[in-house]
Symmetry: D3
Amino acid sequence: MTVLITVINANTSEEMTRAIERGARSVAGPGTRIHAVTPKMGPAAVESHYDEALAVPGLLAAIADGERAGSAGYVIACFGDPGLDAARELATGPVLGIAEAAMHSASFLGRGFSVVTTLSRTRGRAWDLAERYGMRRFCRGVHACDIAPLELDRDPDAVKKTLAACAAALDADGSDAIVLGCAGMSDWSDQLGAELGVPVVDGVRAATLGVESLVRMGLRIGTRDEYAPPPPKPYSGLLRDFGGREG
Amino acid sequence: MTVLITVINANTSEEMTRAIERGARSVAGPGTRIHAVTPKMGPAAVESHYDEALAVPGLLAAIADGERAGSAGYVIACFGDPGLDAARELATGPVLGIAEAAMHSASFLGRGFSVVTTLSRTRGRAWDLAERYGMRRFCRGVHACDIAPLELDRDPDAVKKTLAACAAALDADGSDAIVLGCAGMSDWSDQLGAELGVPVVDGVRAATLGVESLVRMGLRIGTRDEYAPPPPKPYSGLLRDFGGREG
Amino acid sequence: MTVLITVINANTSEEMTRAIERGARSVAGPGTRIHAVTPKMGPAAVESHYDEALAVPGLLAAIADGERAGSAGYVIACFGDPGLDAARELATGPVLGIAEAAMHSASFLGRGFSVVTTLSRTRGRAWDLAERYGMRRFCRGVHACDIAPLELDRDPDAVKKTLAACAAALDADGSDAIVLGCAGMSDWSDQLGAELGVPVVDGVRAATLGVESLVRMGLRIGTRDEYAPPPPKPYSGLLRDFGGREG
Amino acid sequence: MTVLITVINANTSEEMTRAIERGARSVAGPGTRIHAVTPKMGPAAVESHYDEALAVPGLLAAIADGERAGSAGYVIACFGDPGLDAARELATGPVLGIAEAAMHSASFLGRGFSVVTTLSRTRGRAWDLAERYGMRRFCRGVHACDIAPLELDRDPDAVKKTLAACAAALDADGSDAIVLGCAGMSDWSDQLGAELGVPVVDGVRAATLGVESLVRMGLRIGTRDEYAPPPPKPYSGLLRDFGGREG
Amino acid sequence: MTVLITVINANTSEEMTRAIERGARSVAGPGTRIHAVTPKMGPAAVESHYDEALAVPGLLAAIADGERAGSAGYVIACFGDPGLDAARELATGPVLGIAEAAMHSASFLGRGFSVVTTLSRTRGRAWDLAERYGMRRFCRGVHACDIAPLELDRDPDAVKKTLAACAAALDADGSDAIVLGCAGMSDWSDQLGAELGVPVVDGVRAATLGVESLVRMGLRIGTRDEYAPPPPKPYSGLLRDFGGREG
Amino acid sequence: MTVLITVINANTSEEMTRAIERGARSVAGPGTRIHAVTPKMGPAAVESHYDEALAVPGLLAAIADGERAGSAGYVIACFGDPGLDAARELATGPVLGIAEAAMHSASFLGRGFSVVTTLSRTRGRAWDLAERYGMRRFCRGVHACDIAPLELDRDPDAVKKTLAACAAALDADGSDAIVLGCAGMSDWSDQLGAELGVPVVDGVRAATLGVESLVRMGLRIGTRDEYAPPPPKPYSGLLRDFGGREG
């Protein structure tokens, strides 16, 4: 039997959705079908807390769609892991964020890792997540390569710049591994790992396999209390279609 | 000169907005004008991570409105402090959440406080916030009185039940103070304090005074990096009107 | 191509090795071959720090054997995760402990989990590991069912007693999930999950899938510094055959 | 009705008391009367743990005086917040230290702040306080400008040197805000903020407004246990006049 | 050659000084001479933060006396360790507090200890110290036996009550050891240990041996920065004799 | 009566055992007899987690020998403190590791210390121990002098290189004290302390005095639960002689 995993891009760039899809499919098991989704509403790129907050309604709508399509689990493919708690209330199967999955995987690969992300202003969010996931003790530094997310596949020097940022991070932090801090870097993980000689973790791959593993073990979020389905209620204004699971 | 502080309810209940307004006005200084706002879109009540996530666009729209009206600062009047980081990017003046302000104030009033909130499922969020604000060392327990937010002013026994939950929390935690865990409890802080004989902190009051104090000191969030205004960009779907500060 | 994963029991009970093998095989992907191993030296059961320390040489010898057999990765199937750091220096591929994998997986399934283990005296080690892995914030309690490891499959009431300990732990800790604290409980995870209505995580399954995932992503421990192969040197006495990787 | 707030300098410099008074009055609300006090005994400056310890009896005597004068609350205007716990037992109204108030305020203004203080040897105390108040996660660095407290208003280059230390701290720490680490810097906060382009927090202002806010909310320290009035008893030697509240 | 260690009681009770002296002498090595001191000024008992603050000038005067007498090191024999930092600046040799020494020793004797102290209101200070010393992970509980310090040798049931409090603490906390939370309990440590069957640590003994050990290793506090001798300066009022080391 | 303390080298170098013996004897009290032991099996040097793991059986055998000889306590003289928990189960008297004792002692000597150890790859273990002992808040850095343990007494420049590494560490970390990170540096502590002008702590000395102190107070590990003697059982293979205390 085939298992459907929905991998949701948090911005509205179709190009980034295709890159995410490639990453997820490159590791998914033979029985897993990957559906990569671009949300119907949201920001063109996620570059701020403001963008992240406004990416969430589109993400949640994509999960509601996935539930109707029988999706067994979900990956939130944006390094800020936006809407993760809400998504876990909404979905029947497991949900992982790519920062979450990448950091956990990296913690198996050494005593410390460095995150290399896009813009400097997003580093605070990465630290927040490291703490939330218990990974602060492993996260030795969060570094920006100063390329905006949507420039990652337009700037011809993007890989080179990212490679340089990774090398500098490894030295500055004395780390054992690199965590790529943007879904848009997913295509480069093997190349960077080969050039740097250290494990380079792509969260899209890690989260896809993490969800696949939880599904194979028959595990989903506990619903005794905090993560029970959200109580249905009226939503007003633009959001009137979000009235809970029954919606 | 009068200073305008916008106090934003996170749900769409006008009754709760009025209660919040009463709380804020009861403490604001003579030179401060309080504008209490009900968002134009969002959930009827905030009872889950899902509700909280979907309350954020309406909150941010209210801040954009406030900016146009010359608001000097903002209070996010929902105990989950939804959208706080995004709001701080968007607003010119200071922004405080009521959980944030209440917990900080309570930390001045003893070695430990107990939070008494509405539904059990929201306790996790309160713990998250306590940690984020550095208040985990002061927060000894988060307790639910098991009354849904919108029942607070409908259930004739609501005060009595909340009082009992506070008393039980003080004993269980050995705390010095109570933090009220819902904007809808704002009306009761004096009464509960008098009956319990301990300081009872209402976040609406604390946040209103906190914003007023920051405004008086001429302080607003630092914009060197993470909290600079969000880079403008296209937003699609229902959110197409949210395209950054330039709006 | 088939991938070989070696799953190493830390005690010398063949029965427990068979149970571990069943658990690992029940979740391994179609391209994965599971080799479950009983070490050639070590304690009959692991019930103390002393037993754990003396289980390590046999575990490391099993890894050296696995390296010669081309094993792609390893699971240390004892909830104390004995010898994990040494194993990571010795092995070419990834190595996971079952406590490590179970705790990480459980952190995806709620805000807090409870560990249910065998003997009371082993609880300290579980707390140590929770801290080491960054999982202390998720680990709400470690509880003993007071059955010695080797009694788990002899005591006809063992499942019933473990079920009762799990139910009590969930209530006492307000947890969302259970982590089984002994490889010898691996057979029961589905049954316990069904009866308790919460996710019950078996570390043998979680670690097997964790190793399989790392192998699929081409990731192994970083060897820049701490986890480089151990410098070869003479070992004396009973351990003279352990002289480093070169053997 | 006018509210009296007593602001206590911890050393015996009248000049510093006047500077503190200016800072407090510049922000206090129209209904607040500021009484700035120089203690009758104590060190000429606070430059060591030893000085801080010996500043405490004079501070406590000033609070006893304030109680007799009907003071509604107190500010301890020395960045080491000496005697804070004892003061809270003694006073009927709220008591804030300036390090405490400044750090809390700064936590509302970004993800991290830097403290700039006088002498290098006082940095340890600032770290201690950051931890005690839960502010360690926000405090990214404590830096000395290497000017002794009493030189602050004598050294013609003091502002320039402090400005340079602030700029260096912001860069080294990647902070969003500055906390001034000495009451003697209170006069400079606006100027430094304007030149640096970041929020610069003066604890004298922040604590004055914090006490004013607590008074307006009718809140004072909880007296259920630790912070109940100190049990009266004989004090011998020089301190024989300190025999408890009844004194 | 004989080494002089000065053990300073923090209150003015001669009886307690004698008990402290007995404890220190019962363990000191043959080459060590113990001088137990009652301060010339201070509170009759230490039962509050206020008392603790006012005990410090007398303690520091006793250290200044000790320096003149050639004391090789000091024990601060009050469980709140009052004035420890100031004492370390003032003394040439090592200084230990009894809470500090007891907690460190207890951390060698198991995974967790329980503190049993006198009055409930002093528990907060014990937690503060546990954190400061890095011992919070070992300190599982702080419990009061509800006997005022000066009643310890007057109440004929004091040992019995303390024994009961210790037994209850061990059960509630699942601890391996007891730390006695008052210098006035020093006489009972052997008896309590024998009756409870667990290690019972008396801080007076532990600190005496700790200072003796540091002296034997030739170690004293580092004076590169924070703990250099306090800069001399004028002190006014009652404290005019405290003008620094030169005094 | 003479008290016997057994000091166990963790590698098989007789030269290092002699250095350890010198360190221990230089501080032990007149009534203490030091027995320094080279284990009968184990690695020639401890340079990796692998070496450390394989040092443990020999260490435990030495403790079993010590028990038969009536040893009152034990020092594990290797900076990784290998086998400490197991040793504490096995021994009747107290057991201290040299990293443990050195870090605790250094915490009495300032706000922060720096560890200077041999090879870079062992730094991770030192951080692990600092955390386990609650000493992370005091440990500001772990630095390697890049001399292999067995080269310490062969390289004529070893002291000079270590001195340089200590000086650099003090500057980089702003520390008050140095902790020597290898038993093989024991001979140099006085010389280094004199040249650096800061306290330099040798763990062999500190642990010897720590054990002596615990013995003098009549304290040993609590055996209520985790540290009770290990339950006897069959051990197979090379380790068949390790069958528990009854052995």
